[in-house]
Symmetry: C2
Subunit: 288 residues, 2 copies
């Protein structure tokens, strides 16, 4: 029934739970349909993705890195594996299985990642997942110091230029680091924990935000909300511990304005997770 | 340094790649910090999540099911496993590792899931991930027939009442099935493929949408865009094959209006994926 299949080709796949689905069983169900329609043969040519609009007068900017299997991991070695479970050629459809740590790729850190009793990924308030974005640019000092930090003075300077950080904001550091993501050692600034050097937030800055503004979270274009050389994970402890979230490994912060964009933050709300890979999209005023 | 730790407690964790991180190594890095700050001791009490706003005059409705490990799977047996890698008590932080099929929980099906050459999850146009939602209610006929389908006449009736389905829409079936998600056999309408009975779209309906309207995708509150008793996966083949996406296992469609809500669709853009668990949020006009 499938193009390219041979009569003796009874391809068989095992899932980790020992569950099996044979091509024969899948096609047997298919054969019960009118005319024994072939899935593979019936598949039409696939056109380009349907053209679409992000709403009147808005365009979408993707703040998410593609999650390649070689995505730079905090500890160094590759942290993702996948396995093809079914193929169109053999089974009529294609799907993979994935295994990975919650903190890989563009992802969210929850209050419970470092703080006992803190909200986990399935308990985040959905109202906090749509937020105005403030982008604080520290690219200049990050060129001089790989462990540069967003400091309170950077926030004050931001507000002098762009106005007060709005209530419910997601405050994002743009250090220029996203451009290094294709080279793990460059992106980490080392071979892996504890050999890490990249920019992050200072706890003085997050304390300032918590005391003076009312935000939902912070984001960074590096792999940690604390700088790479942090010895105490102070921001993970105090800022996440304040009941707010962090987003790490953001992309494309150069492609949204310092103020005025809005973020959609899309963590997977799996059971008792400390975080998860997370689609982050921004909407920006203006036609595409 | 950690509360509750004993001097001989050198907890050791192995990742699947054989990488190890010892508590000692983690805390050694911590000890380099000023005053040897304890991560666990420093963690403050965690307040309720920061109160936030979904933008002026909008509230967020979560269309995503919590992804519990026992989430009903298409094939029957549990399709998700997790493993705790690090704990706050032993390591200063908490994180898990997950293994699962791409098509579990609230998730997206891509054009490439059934059609060779179709776009995969890392090639979806981000502009298509923000879309006006049309909710087509077939709860009444789904009570009489578990394999009820959205038919062209349901779309015509929808438009008579709510106006034309907008360009770029995500057209969602509300069959009432989301209420069954806590009972796998009830949600599947059987024990697993091919013993499945639940509502879906007819290919007549998706052909009608493709010919007469210009949408980005369809969504269902069941585990497949085809009805459970489908023998040919006609909608997976023809609709996904047209370069559009499907979302399965949507939640809370009763809590958004039939027209006027907007969806944010957040698949994880992992490498060459046929789909992925996907956060789906809706924004609805009106104060919270």
């Amino acid at each position: 029934m499938c193009v390219g299949a041979t009569p003796h080709d009874h391809h068989h796949h095992e899932t980790p739970e020992g569950l099996s689905l044979t091509r024969r069983s899948f096609l047997k169900a298919g054969a019960a349909g009118a005319a024994g329609m072939s899935l593979a043969v019936a598949a039409p040519a696939v056109p380009a993705l349907a053209h679409a609009r992000a709403g009147r007068g808005h365009r979408v900017v993707d703040l998410t890195h593609r999650l390649v299997k070689t995505f730079p991991a905090f500890l160094g070695p590759q942290a993702i594996t996948d396995q093809v479970l079914f193929t169109i050629e053999n089974d009529g459809f294609y799907t993979k299985q994935w295994t990975f740590d919650e903190h890989i790729g563009t992802h969210i850190d929850t209050p419970g990642h470092f703080s006992p009793g803190g909200a986990l990924v399935d308990a985040l308030d959905p109202q906090t997942l749509l937020a105005p974005i403030a982008v604080v640019d520290i690219k200049r000092k990050a060129m001089d110091d790989p462990n540069a930090m967003v400091e309170p003075r950077d926030l004050v300077r931001y507000e002098r230029r762009h106005g007060r950080i709005p209530r419910g904001a997601l405050v994002c550091m743009n250090s220029g680091w996203a451009a290094k993501v294709g080279d793990g050692d460059a992106f980490r600034g080392g071979t892996g924990f504890p050999d890490l050097n990249f920019p992050g937030f200072s706890s003085d800055a997050t304390d300032w935000l918590n005391a003076k503004r009312d935000i939902v979270g912070i984001g960074v274009d590096t792999m940690s909300i604390d700088p790479g050389n942090s010895a105490d994970f102070a921001v993970h402890v105090s800022f996440l511990g304040s009941g707010r979230y962090g987003i790490e490994n953001l992309a494309n912060l150069d492609h949204i304005p310092a103020k005025g964009a809005r973020a959609f933050v899309g963590p997977v709300p799996w059971e008792d997770g400390s975080g998860s890979p997370c689609r982050v999209l921004a909407t920006v005023a203006g036609r595409r």
